[in-house]
Amino acid sequence: MTSTATPPVPAIRALGLTKRYGATTAVDDLSFSVLPGKVTGFLGPNGAGKSTTMRLVLGLERPDAGTASVRGRPYAELETPLREVGAMLETRSFHPGRSGRGHLRCLAQSQALPAHRVQEVIDLVGLRDAADRRAGGYSLGMAQRLGIAAALLGDPQVVVLDEPVNGLDPEGVRWIRGLLKGLAAEGRAVLVSSHLMNEMAVTADHLLILGRGRLLADCSTADFVRRYTDPQLYADTPAVARPALLEEAFMRLTADSVEYATKGTS
């Protein structure tokens, strides 16, 4: 490894990842890399396999074929997993009877993280007033913030968030946008899934588009819009407004992949 031309180790790498549930193939021979210093948006219609892919990468499910690695190693082999990867999958991944602070304390102790990290992430996500209440009483937005606090607890170099803006108010959405961009600017890799096109258009630098478990596109957000929008519409749209075309581009690309598409409309 003396060559200076060696490319950086991808933060996340999937190779031929495949997962079947009975006759359904949820993730089909998926290969991609997520690089540090960028927000990578994971887009796809419902049932496209976004969440399953994240769960395979994080070792919550076993692939039927293929491999996934995080910073060059399978997730299960990381010695300090929360220091390397912070993830929020489903929002409510905590015991409702425990306070937000208690939840974070359990996780910090299991990772030998210093106790003051708990208060730091509580402040970071703006959960100070609710931290000592039972988490079962949290609103969806507060539960999201607790999930994000847990993801950031270990100050990880890789952040994986599944639908983080779900349930957040406009102020919260804006906060998440700034947080994700800030994390990427610090050189971290950020993989975030969303079905909100406009949110992805302004947040993601890079896109991975999934349809029926297969990778349909892997390119920068700007390239994606240019490549898949109707050329006339693209030309007629001022540059500053082009991110808004993401939805149009996405719909054109995934028209075949939407599971319950209405017949006769295109």
Binding site: G59, S93, G97, L124, G154
Partner: protein, 277 residues
């Protein structure tokens, strides 16, 4: 709500987590949910309540007992005093064991736990160690007052003292019985994953299986019943003076440990192999 834009602060000392860190985490988990205190209080109340009830019933009806029953009591008064507390206390301990593991799955906490410990099995191992210590200490803490009350109530029928070697042995056996019962619950919780289903399976093993098996004809049924965890747990409280017992106390300890080992091992396999919900 307001929050700074990013400003993620690097943690100070970085160190690879050890098993002791996981045990601290599991101790926090047990402490910070209400079901732990409820279940352990229920164990204390059930054990003490039934000890008082049975011991006072024994004392008041003593004159009507036949010689053989009287001889059985005087041969092992400590075992008889502690038995009702164990019979009912095991319910609360088994339920808590099931809940500790099954609620991780039912609430989604398991995702957070497994992301933090992707090797998975250390989670159950740390939980088992912490829970075993908590139950053993609580159970001995209940057995001592239960014995003292029962001993005082039956003082006219038999003379017993906390300082006797036999009493100490029985009190420790009470702690071991409750601890292994709790671990059986933990194993079942890891296998069944649903609190209600797990509690049902636990109660079936503890209370329904002895009844059903005792309906079978022949002496084989007696051996099956004697080899159930709840039955063998009762025997380890005794001093072995009961000549009608199928297996002696030491064999019953082995049987109870085997149940615990098998169900916990199955729990480990379930935690390690199955996909996380």
């Amino acid at each position: 709500m307001t929050a700074s834009d990013t400003g993620v602060i690097a943690p100070a000392a970085a160190r690879v987590p050890r098993f002791g860190d996981l045990c601290r985490s599991e101790w926090t988990k047990i402490r910070t949910v209400r079901s732990s205190a409820w279940s352990l209080s229920a164990m204390a109340l059930l054990s003490l309540g039934f000890t008082v009830f049975v011991s006072s019933a024994l004392a008041s009806s003593w004159s009507t007992w036949n010689a053989a029953d009287k001889a059985r009591f005087t041969a092992d008064p400590v075992g008889v005093i502690l038995e009702p507390g164990a019979t009912f206390g095991q319910l609360a301990v088994g339920v808590l064991g099931v809940l500790l593991m099954a609620s991780e799955y039912s609430t989604g906490m398991i995702r957070a736990s497994m992301l933090a410990t992707p090797r998975r099995t250390p989670i159950l191992a740390a939980k088992a160690v912490v829970f075993a210590v908590v139950v053993f200490v609580s159970a001995v803490g209940v057995a001592v007052p239960a014995f003292l009350v029962g001993s005082a109530l039956t003082s006219e029928q038999a003379s017993t003292s906390l300082g006797d070697a036999g009493t100490v042995r029985a009190v420790l056996a009470f702690g071991v019985f409750m601890t292994l019962t709790g671990l059986i619950g933990l194993g079942i919780g890891a296998i069944v994953r649903h609190p209600a289903g797990g509690i049902g399976a636990m109660a079936t093993l503890q209370y329904v299986a002895p009844l059903l098996l005792s309906l079978l004809p022949g002496s084989l049924a007696e051996h099956f019943v004697a080899a159930l965890p709840a039955t063998s747990g009762q025997v380890i409280l005794s001093n072995g003076s009961d000549v009608n017992g199928i297996y002696p106390p030491l064999a019953c300890l082995g049987i109870l440990m085997a149940w615990t080992a098998v169900l916990l091992a199955a729990g480990f396999v379930s935690v390690k192999r199955r996909d996380v919900p």
